[in-house]
Amino acid sequence: MTHLDKLEVEAIYIMREVVAECEKPVMLYSIGKDSSVMLHLAMKAFYPEKPPFPFMHIDTSWKFKEMLDFRDRVADKYGIEMLVYRNEKAIEQGINPFDHGSAYTDIMKTQALKQALDKYGFTAAFGGGRRDEEKSRAKERIFSFRNEEHAWDPKNQRPELWDIYNTRIHKGESMRVFPLSNWTEKDIWQYICRENIDIVPLYFAKERPVVYRDGNIIMVDDERMKLRADEEIVMKKVRFRTLGCYPLTGAIESDADTLEAIVAETLGAVSSERTSRVIDHEAAGSMERRKKEGYF
């Protein structure tokens, strides 16, 4: 078995454990490449049965249009249940990434996620997080215990031995489960290539309207984008290594418009992928802090 085969088997084993032991699981679907891989693995893990749990997208209302189109298309194609949750109260209040900085991420992602998990009473939520993404993620267990407040306690994690997972929780507590923990960005791309997995077109290089802002290339996806006085929209051939809310996601200049070209570019990459996520850089340990508050 190759390295990718082993990673595939591990992810499938984890998904089957969750379905066998957890009362009410859900798979978080963020529309990105990792979610696409996770969905593909879920289809394989339970075949000939459909994945016996719903999928859920936390919509901040600031996602790229192409992402939302892709989400609906995929749900149709696979015939899976796709729940969409938005923090409507905050959207009404006009919370946005331009005026509200880090509070925006907390309200639209972390709070929205907690509200959604509580609303449906999910006891286990699959996430596409990988340990190679960021230092605090590198420390997290595959079955990550969360208390009633959905908080992670990094200093007191349950030991996780071999492939025997302790899924026991009390009422109100929950598990976050990361079947792709041991995958790297490179593995993800190679697997997408091997399995010919459909991904959002934003990953492929194309001429797109962008502005240069604080060292990032930001795509102007709709009229809500507030331009600064010195900014000018230009057309550039760009693609994205990760996808999130469009005003917070940096593009890279690239000519890679096929999967093979993307893999080749990734193999030779000099920066880690999360450099294009504006929020990770705010303060040392920002990811750990957000995870303690309940973020994925």
């Binding site: 066998a20 000939p48 420390k139 200093k155 994690q157 349950r158 030991p159 031995l161 025997i164 802090r289």
Partner: protein, 605 residues
Amino acid sequence: MNDLLKFITCGSVDDGKSTLIGHMLYDAKLIFTDQENALILDSRVGSRGGEIDYSLLLDGLMAEREQGITIDVAYRYFNTEKRSFIVADTPGHEEYTRNMAVGASFADLAIILVDGSKGLLTQTRRHARICALMGIRHFVFAVNKMDLVSYDAEVFQKIELDIRKLMVEFKYATLCVLPVSATEGDNVTTPSKNMLWYRGATLLSYLENIDVSKEESKEGCILPVQRVCRPNANFRGFQGQIVQGKLSVGDKVKVLPSGQTACLSSMYVTDKAMDTCIEGQAVTVSIDREIDISRGCVITTEESLSIGRLFKASLLWMDNDELIEGRSYLLKLGGKMVPATVQKLHYQIDVNTGEKKLIKKGHKNEIISCDISVSEKIVLQNFEKCMAMGRFILIDRVTNMTSACGRVEYVLRRSDNLTYQNMDITRDIRAEMLGQKPVTLWFTGLSGSGKSTVANAVEKELVAMGKHTMILDGDNVRMGLNKNLGFTETDRVENIRRIAEVAKLMNDAGLIVLVSAISPYNVDRANARAIIGDAYREIYISTPLEVCEKRDVKGLYAKARQGQLPNFTGISAPYEVPKDAELSIDTSLMELERSVEKIVKLCCV
């Protein structure tokens, strides 16, 4: 496609584990430029006076960076042209031993660091022992900080001899000892110019080339069933991962523990129909006849698997709470989760000398030999013969903490001679003849809270209703059945266990049982609930301590206040308030008649 090596780094604190891996990643150009820039920036304010501090690449949690230590395992991923690697960097402090074990359970190979200026330390020996316990078969000892001992060959040779002596005790496949300097980079990725006397491979090149694959086994197939897949009425598939051997369509298989046989009629590897599948693959199989198969069953062609209820085990105890003989846990092994009891503690292994020490209790970070019994027959195997069927975890029933991990050393046969005799006259028949539903009302609460008074009144009411009852009073039982028990923790656990077993027997006889016992600890009550089962009803007599103390019917509080009664619940020992009691009654607030009415109602639920 490259193959994959999973390894860990371990050893005592400050032996330079994080630095070694950090240096290897840095030298082999395996980090991204933004990580490199962040590293150089972080190092400027660090303890190496502006020199690059490679350990910062790995210590990820805020608390770790603040304190300059590793608390939990960090996983790093890298590959060279020859191989893909996952390395788990584990903590060196004794306090975090369980996190080190987490890393060890995941790895094929261990790099154990030894400080060349200090030699083997207790922690080095502990880690070697835990690696062996968790099933690692390939060992590399990196004798580090050679720069601090002037790259002296004699220092190295002396330590190497100690290492080889240490390893005699363990079963392993390969062992390599090499001298390095993690900070300076000698023998990490490039051969050292300072140690020309060493002719072996550098660490990275050794890791790139070592073969950790198991010898081709000729043994039968083992497929533990993870879940049953039933998409429609026509298909019933059993999903799991093959942990040994291979299977083909048409093979005659046995299903354990029932022992029924069947032939494989179809097989999928993930979503593709296949004729044959091999060790490691995730499969869905179906069989040619209707037999009962559920999660935890094993589909197999291997003859040597055991079915048993009692086995000898080695444990690594990981919980802050102590391990006590007779206490009940949940055991998870091969997809099966069952109630289990630690029957007999044999000894603890001294991590330093390997000596066996007799013990009464187990403590955190100790390696312990004991007997474990489980509530039903399960499929298992000696760890040495089949790791996947011989390793397990113990889960605390109250806190849900993973309290221990362990391995099956061998299955004890004496339990096989004891089989539960099913009698024709059952509990239900006896209960029906008495015209009642047998339950156990378990009254818990402080001394003087009114347990006995309430239980007595409830029994009178039940008898007046024509019910058949029995009271088991904690104090009275201690004068007879339990008179050989004192008040130590072990005895307390046994006291509750006996009362619960007796209550269960009386329920079997059709009786309604009223137990009145302080039973101050959650674990003990959980144990009683586990033994008695569905018939268990917990009633918490929640009368406040001040009221109980004022009443002081037996004069015990006065004595306890004077220090004459050590371990007196409420004064010098804790009372853990029940979280899942069926009923709470404060006798200082509720009329006795009203209490009785509520409890009698509970009998009928």
